[in-house]
Amino acid sequence: MRPEDALGAATDAAAKAGHTEPEGLSAPAAADRATPEQLREWALIEVDHDLVYSTRKLGAPITLMKRLLMRLLRQYTVELEAQQTRFNVAVLARLREIEERLDRAER
């Protein structure tokens, strides 16, 4: 078979085979603008501690040390996250309110 004919042959074979997949395997499409659901999810600041690590030669003990430091500073980081989340949630609420007013005005 020539390469130019392969896609057509594969498309025909796939139709004939009737491949089926389990539900829900599709990845969410990348969008230029965040959806309202994504904004709500992102508003809640919660940093994954697995993102803190070291790639040095002795990375494992350094990673442990970094995570220990984070635990010791937890009071500070929790407060930081809470204050940022408070701001984000307030802005989102205000945004929703403005959108509703705009909708009413356009009707």
């Binding site: 078979m1 020539r2 392969a6 085979a17 599709s26 990845a27 994504q38 030669k57």
Partner: protein, 341 residues
């Protein structure tokens, strides 16, 4: 002397490797300066900190641009002649849900490109796809200088039958490993129960890797190996054992793995996106949709059809000639001369 500057250096980073390869070439021209980076990963070698950069007035500063680089921006005012090499920046829309920090760097990287493009004496892009973006950003007289690629000695086309599928690249959303895994699961179920899928590449995050592992389980795919970063020897052995190479990425500024697959005589199935059509030409089986069933059948053909494999291998060798290092070196020399004129 030509001093190269990159924003961040890593041991497996494609831009870092390209800068080091350029340095070897500049050395053969008697023009080699250092490779400097604002951030250097501990495992990276051959790269000096930006603070050590001390160019003479007649030296050339060569900037590799692939992300937001605030620490390099002061050099835009430097009196030396400047050359930009644009490797492209991943659109942030792929990264916002998974790694906000990288997404911010990419968003700002694209946003700041016009400033960089206009501040240079000459610019080059590693593909025509990237050159179009550079022109849109305001660069004039853009040279297309492909990635400097040294192919290993070409292997003869191998016999059909190795049901081992390979994809190479960072585990990141735009690379579409999710679709690779789904297509492989269908191929495995319908045609090759013993097939294996190798996906070497550093994950964007541990969570994204875990998501891919869970997806493979839900899709019913067995033998999926997400090995993480691997060295050159391991990568070479993966190509040598592969029956087909799959690249379904939605955004590529060049895509070196296509050339690596051609060098190893592995049939390539790829998405016609980004710079990939520029690189692979007529030497790949192109897909333009997201149907995993069709891709599964293409894998079956690529692995098992001798005539198809031989033709793709011959075309792959011809593509390698297009990207021969001597040709690329000539193009780079022309871009350097333009920057120095």
């Amino acid at each position: 002397m030509i001093h190269q500057i990159i924003s961040a250096a890593g041991p497996y980073d494609a831009v870092t490797r390209q800068a080091l390869r350029y340095r070897d070439l500049f050395e053969s021209w008697g023009m080699a300066g250092g490779v400097h980076a604002a951030v250097i990963e501990p495992r990276a070698t051959g790269v000096a900190p930006l603070s050590k950069l001390d160019p003479a007035p007649d030296d050339l500063l060569l900037f590799h641009y692939s992300a937001y680089a605030p620490k390099l921006e002061r050099l835009l005012e430097a009196p030396q002649r400047k050359l930009l090499v644009y490797h492209n920046v991943t659109p942030a829309r792929y990264l916002w849900p998974h790694h906000p920090h990288t997404a911010v760097l990419c968003e700002l990287g694209r946003d700041r490109l016009p400033r960089w493009a206009r501040a240079m004496d000459a610019a080059c892009a590693v593909s025509e796809f990237n050159a179009a973006e550079l022109r849109e950003a305001g660069a004039r007289h853009v040279h297309v200088v492909p990635i400097l690629f040294d192919p290993p000695p070409a292997r003869p086309p191998r016999e059909a039958g190795a049901a081992r599928v390979l994809t190479v690249g960072r585990l990141a959303p735009h690379k579409r490993h999710d679709l690779v895994i789904r297509a492989f699961a269908l191929y495995q179920r319908a045609h090759a129960p013993e097939a294996v899928l190798d996906c070497p590449g550093e994950p964007l995050t541990a969570a994204y890797r875990d998501w891919l592992v869970a997806l493979a389980e839900r899709a019913g795919a067995r033998g999926v190996d997400l090995a993480g970063s691997v060295g050159d020897a391991v990568l070479e052995s993966l190509y040598a054992r592969a029956g087909a190479f799959l690249m379904l990425s939605e955004h590529e500024g060049f895509c070196v793995p296509l050339l690596e697959a051609f060098a190893e005589g592995v049939p390539v199935i790829a998405r016609a996106a980004g710079a990939m059509p520029d690189v692979a030409g007529n030497a790949a089986l192109w897909i333009d949709g997201d149907d995993p069933g069709t891709i599964a059948e293409l894998i079956h053909l690529a692995v098992g059809d001798e005539e198809l494999r031989a033709e793709l291998a011959a075309r792959g060798r011809a593509r390698l000639d297009e990207f021969a290092p001597e040709r690329t070196a000539e193009k780079l020399r022309a871009a350097v001369n333009a920057a120095l004129e």
